[in-house]
C-alpha cells in the first residue's frame, strides 16, 4: 500500500513486512493524515509474515508531527513487546544535526524494537 507524498507529507509505503516513510512532514491536519496510516500499519503488523522492517528518512517535520512519530514508535513498541520482531532504521543525512538528534531522542523510548541510526550521504 502506498500513500503518495504531498507537498507537506512524506511518501509512505507499507507491505506485510516493511514500512518506509520518506520526505517532509508538516501536514495541515496531522491526525487526518496519520490516522489511515496507523490503521494500515496495524493491519500489516497483525499478520504472521515474521519480521517487520521500518525505514524512516525524514528531512523535516514540525512539532505537531513529532507527536505522531512518538505515537508511531509507541505502537511499534507494543507490537514488539507482543513478540513481533521489528527493526527500525532511522536514516538521516550527514550534517543534519536536527534529524540526528530527533532520531536519538526517539531511540530512548524504544527497547523492544531493534533500532539503528543510519547516516546517509546527501543526494
Amino acid at each position: 500500500m502506498i500513500f503518495e507524498a504531498g507537498q507537506r507529507t512524506p511518501q509512505v509505503e507499507l507491505t506485510p513486512t516493511s514500512c518506509l516513510i520518506r520526505g517532509e512532514c508538516y501536514p495541515e491536519n496531522i491526525s487526518e493524515w496519520s490516522d489511515p496510516i496507523l490503521k494500515a500499519l496495524e493491519e500489516c503488523l497483525g499478520n504472521d509474515e515474521g519480521g517487520f522492517v521500518v525505514d524512516i528518512e525524514l528531512y523535516y517535520f514540525n512539532s505537531s508531527s513529532a507527536k505522531f512519530l512518538f505515537d508511531f514508535f509507541e505502537f511499534l513498541e507494543e507490537s514488539a513487546e507482543g513478540g513481533k520482531s521489528i527493526t527500525v532504521n532511522w536514516r538521516y543525512r550527514a550534517e543534519d544535526d536536527t534529524m540526528q538528534e530527533a532520531g536519538e531522542d526517539f531511540e530512548e523510548d524504544v527497547s523492544a524494537c531493534s533500532y539503528n541510526m543510519v547516516m546517509v550521504e546527501q543526494a
Binding site: 507537498q7 507537506r8 508538516y26 495541515e28 491536519n29 528531512y59 523535516y60 514540525n62 512539532s63 505537531s64 513529532a66 507527536k67 512518538f70 550534517e95 543534519d96 544535526d97 536536527t98 538528534e101 531522542d105 530512548e108 523510548d109
Partner: protein, 181 residues
C-alpha cells in the same frame, strides 16, 4: 510622474521593505491552505540566497511554527470565516535571518504565554531538548491546541529570540522575533 500621496505611500512601503531586507511578508487572514500555498515561494526565497541548506531548513522550521501559532492562537479573526489574522515575515539580519510574527493574543492566555517564554528564554540547548522530550511523552499542557511543542521547537532552532506584548486597537499584540544563523 506624479506626486500624489497614495503612490507616495506605496513607495514608502516598498522602500521600507527593501531597507529592512524583508524577503517575505504576509499580513492578513492566515489558514493552513494559504500556508501550503506560500510554503514553496518562501523556500524558493531562502534557497536563492546561497544559504546553507541546513540554515534554510531551520528558518523554514521556525516560520512554519510561527505561522501555525497564528492560525491556532490569534485572537483576531475574520468576521465571515473566522480565519486567524496575523503578520509573518522573514528578513535578512545580522549575518542570518530574522523571522517575525505578530498576532492579537487571547487576554486570558497572555500571562501563561509570557511565563512559558520567559522560562524557555533562560534554558540552554540541552535543557530545551530534555523539555521537548518530556512534553512529547507527557502530552500537551491544558489549553494547547497543538502538541504544546511549538515554542520549544522554535527556541531550539533560533540563536536567540525576543518577545513582547504591545497594546493596539484590536487588543494586546503578541510579538515574536527569532534569529537564525
Amino acid at each position: 510622474m506624479t506626486d500624489n500621496i497614495a503612490s507616495q505611500d506605496t513607495v514608502e512601503l516598498h522602500s521600507f521593505m527593501q531597507e529592512r531586507k524583508t524577503l517575505f511578508c504576509y499580513s492578513g487572514p492566515l489558514t493552513e491552505d494559504l500556508l501550503t500555498t506560500i510554503s514553496n515561494p518562501v523556500r524558493h526565497q531562502l534557497s536563492d540566497k546561497e544559504t546553507e541548506e541546513i540554515v534554510a531548513k531551520r528558518v523554514f522550521g521556525v516560520f512554519i511554527e510561527q505561522a501555525q501559532n497564528i492560525i491556532r492562537y490569534s485572537h483576531h479573526k475574520t468576521k465571515a470565516t473566522g480565519d486567524s489574522i496575523g503578520t509573518i515575515a522573514i528578513s535578512i539580519a545580522e549575518d542570518g535571518f530574522l523571522i517575525e510574527a505578530v498576532n492579537v493574543v487571547d487576554p486570558s492566555k497572555k500571562d501563561i504565554l509570557e511565563a512559558t517564554l520567559v522560562d524557555l528564554s533562560v534554558k540552554d540547548q540541552k535543557e530545551l531538548r530534555d523539555l521537548y522530550k518530556k512534553r512529547l511523552r507527557e502530552g500537551p499542557p491544558e489549553d494547547s491546541r497543538g502538541a504544546g511543542l511549538g515554542f520549544i521547537e522554535m527556541a531550539r532552532r533560533v540563536k536567540k529570540f525576543e518577545f513582547d506584548f504591545v497594546e493596539s486597537d484590536d487588543g494586546a499584540l503578541f510579538v515574536y522575533r527569532g534569529w537564525v544563523k
